[in-house]
């Protein structure tokens, strides 16, 4: 009897909760009523954009989402940006994409978790007239637009600059990212391509930083205090490495990094102290490029199916270019290369870091 009573009571309370939930439904439903027309091609504007990301708390990914929002606002063609952002694998992303389809979005921009696993849902979206753009990593689904940074070129351009700066000979260190991750594999291939052209360059050490600043800093400190190094190539863990030269009070050697704000600042401020280096771009603003392509497709401008962004290089001899990148108000990890002509139309880092979608 006692147990039954408790369960009865619990059930009653749950029932009340259910009724409350159902009761709440009525007022909330009112503003969500207008359905987006997905079939009409070459619309003029008022689009709803869905964004799917499955790595939360990563600075690069957050900046990617903010770039999409900023570009949506700047374009003037977007009414609403719906961001689905949670940690997960293909299972979660399929559910998220189906949720976006259910909401009647006009276009979906996703950073895919899997090359092939999402194809069925992407193709189902396209069949319903939704424009799908995969950014940062590719998908093989038919009809999807793909926008990626050229990771092979990222490493090749930087490495060639380094080897050229060293006069074609010397001992260099290759500080990679995470073993087995596609971006790291591609970058290593690019590094090897450059290395093949400079037979007198010797790779004296190869490390995996895990793209973690503190790990990279420790490795750099060990290397510069124990071995003889002529140059360093990094896969984006750059400003912590430069800091180690200052900590150990060792003269700088030429160094290649990414367009991180902290590194750009060092290249500008430490140039007089003898720092020679180059920042190679790997922009999270690729999200904004994805949005621009989605809007082109929606307005009937037939953009290219595959867009490969070639990285740009800014070295210490190009102070003006570096000054253009430097964003004094942002964190050290901020990716400074936010304006990607001809795709982006927002005004720069300030717009992106404001992270405001239309109506927010």
């Amino acid at each position: 009897m006692k147990r039954r009573n408790r369960k009865t009571l619990g059930g009653l309370l749950l029932l009340i909760l259910a009724l409350l939930v159902a009761g709440c439904a009525a007022p909330v439903s009112a503003p969500a009523a207008p359905a987006a027309a997905t079939e009409a091609p070459a619309q003029e504007g008022g689009f709803t954009i869905g964004v799917s990301n499955t790595l939360v708390g990563n600075g690069w990914r957050e900046q990617m989402i903010c770039a999409i929002k900023a570009e949506a606002t700047a374009s003037g063609l977007v009414d609403q940006v719906i961001v689905v952002n949670r940690n997960g694998g293909p299972t979660e992303q399929i559910a998220d994409l189906e949720g976006l389809i259910s909401q009647g979005v006009d276009a979906i921009i996703l950073n895919p978790t899997d090359r092939e696993g999402l194809n069925a849902v992407i193709e189902a979206a396209i069949a319903q007239g939704i424009v799908v753009v995969a950014v940062d990593q590719a998908v093989t689904a038919e009809g999807a637009y793909v926008v990626t940074n050229d990771q092979v070129a990222y490493a090749r351009i930087g490495a060639e600059w380094l080897f050229e700066t060293l006069g074609g000979q010397g001992q260099v260190v290759e500080m990679r990212g995470i073993d087995g991750v596609p971006a790291d594999t591609d970058r290593h291939a690019g590094f090897q391509e450059a290395l093949a052209k400079y037979p007198d360059i010797v790779v004296s050490a190869e490390t995996f930083t895990g793209w973690d600043p503190s790990t990279g800093a420790q490795q750099a400190l060990d290397l510069i205090t124990t071995t003889d190094i002529d140059g360093i190539w990094t896969s984006g863990i750059d400003y912590p490495v430069v800091e180690q030269f200052q900590t150990a009070n060792v003269p700088f050697v030429p160094i290649v990094g990414a367009d991180n704000n902290g590194f750009v600042q060092q290249l500008l401020e430490l140039a007089d102290d003898g720092l020679v280096g180059a920042a190679v771009t790997n922009p999270p603003a690729i999200g904004a490029v994805g949005l621009a392509i989605a809007l082109d497709a929606l307005t009937g401008k037939n953009p290219e199916q595959v867009t490969l962004l070639t990285p740009a290089l800014f070295d210490t001899s190009n102070a003006e270019g570096l000054q253009g990148l430097y964003a004094p108000d942002q964190q050290v990890g901020w990716s400074t290369y936010v304006n990607i002509p001809p795709y982006t139309s927002y005004s720069g880092s300030a717009d992106v870091s404001a992270c405001k979608a239309p109506g927010e």
């Binding site: 006692k2 147990r3 039954r4 009573n5 408790r6 369960k7 009865t8 009571l9 619990g10 059930g11 009653l12 309370l13 749950l14 029932l15 909760l17 259910a18 009724l19 939930v21 159902a22 709440c24 439904a25 009525a26 909330v28 439903s29 969500a32 207008p34 359905a35 987006a36 939360v56 719906i82 961001v83 689905v84 952002n85 949670r86 940690n87 997960g88 694998g89 293909p90 299972t91 399929i94 559910a95 998220d96 189906e98 949720g99 389809i101 259910s102 909401q103 009647g104 899997d114 092939e116 696993g117 069925a120 849902v121 193709e123 189902a124 069949a127 087995g180």
Partner: protein, 333 residues
């Protein structure tokens, strides 16, 4: 003191009152579904199929967890078993005809039942708490999964995908196959547990191990049986995952979050973590509810980073309702 919540006398009403928690969670789910349908432009077959199939892995895992919890245990390795089943299926089903795929599926369910039965035996024999043993085995199964499939890949037969998703491509098909696949196992297991001798033994052993032993029930067998059923449900969850995604994903985080969600679904389902109490059919509704929360919150325009917070608040809220009702009952008697 008088009992203000007297039980109704009509037999049908009595049955309804006795299962009021199940009723409550199902009503909650239908309330949420109704709410969701008003938030989105169209609510039709696509949405029903989508919600049902995406809920399958969690619902299966939650049923498995519920059986083990009812029998007085808890299994932190179920998510890892899901991973293992998912990668074995994806690795060996790729490019195979439907017959071979079916055989692999059945073999997987049987093998995982055996594997987890062994875990149950180990717990019973060693006297080490369930939570410790299954935490250890969860690392073993996750490691094994990575060893079998080092990076995402593999595949399965279209027939297998149809069985769980209603479509050979995994999306946009009929909603009947996933609907049946989500309701049938839960119903069967719930009926079995309430109406057969081994099923009732699970409840007895979970409620009070000593009392069950003194009553002449085989407590050891009950524990092994519960873990075996839990293992087979985890295998089914892995098969559903490969049917939905068409690939295997060996990442540890996937299994770990699946385990936690299965415990959440069990708790929401009114199944006491102390064992011996609860209706297994309620976890079907709570599993779907947990999956539904994310799209609903997104459709409401809630920042998706906050979705998890709200999920946690909901679980805490339901737990407090349970606690409050216990408190009131004790005041009454």
């Amino acid at each position: 003191m008088t009992n203000r919540l007297a039980l109704p006398h009509h037999p049908l009403l009595r049955t309804l009152w006795r299962n009021s928690w199940v009723l409550g969670v199902w009503l909650l789910l239908f309330g949420l579904l109704f709410w969701y349908s008003t938030l989105i432009p169209v609510f039709g077959p696509f949405q029903i199929a989508s919600i049902t199939k995406n809920s399958l892995p969690l619902v299966y895992l939650a049923i498995g967890q519920a059986i083990i919890v009812v029998a007085g245990g808890i299994d932190l390795s179920l998510g890892a078993l899901l991973l293992l089943s998912n990668v074995v299926a994806a690795r060996f089903m790729e490019g195979q005809p439907a017959g071979v795929v079916a055989a692999i599926g059945v073999a997987l369910v049987a093998a995982m039942a055996l594997l987890n039965a062994f875990t149950g035996l180990l717990i019973h024999r060693s006297g080490v708490p369930d939570i410790v043993v299954t935490l250890a085995t969860s690392y073993i199964w996750s490691g094994l999964a990575l060893w079998i499939l080092p990076s995402p890949g593999g595949g399965t037969a279209p027939e297998m995908r149809w069985l769980f998703t209603g479509s050979p491509s995994g999306i946009g098909g009929s909603y009947w196959p996933p609907l049946l696949m989500i309701l049938l196992p839960g119903m069967l297991v719930a009926l079995w547990a309430r109406n057969t001798r081994p099923g009732l033994t699970l409840y007895a052993a979970g409620s009070s191990r000593t009392a069950a032993q003194l009553a002449g029930l085989d407590v050891r067998q009950a524990k092994i049986l519960a873990y075996a059923l839990g293992g087979s449900m985890a295998a089914a969850a892995g098969l559903a995952t490969v049917a939905i995604t068409g690939t295997g994903d060996p990442r540890f985080a996937v299994g770990a979050s699946a385990t936690l969600n299965s415990v959440a679904a069990v708790v929401l389902g009114g199944i006491a973590l102390t064992g011996g109490v609860g209706n297994l059919f309620s976890v079907v509704a709570t599993g779907v509810t947990l999956i539904m929360l994310n799209p609903i919150l997104i459709a409401m325009g809630v920042n998706s980073n906050n979705a998890q917070v709200i999920q946690g608040v909901l679980i805490a809220g339901v737990m407090m309702i349970g606690g409050l009702s216990t408190f009131l009952r004790e005041r009454q008697s």
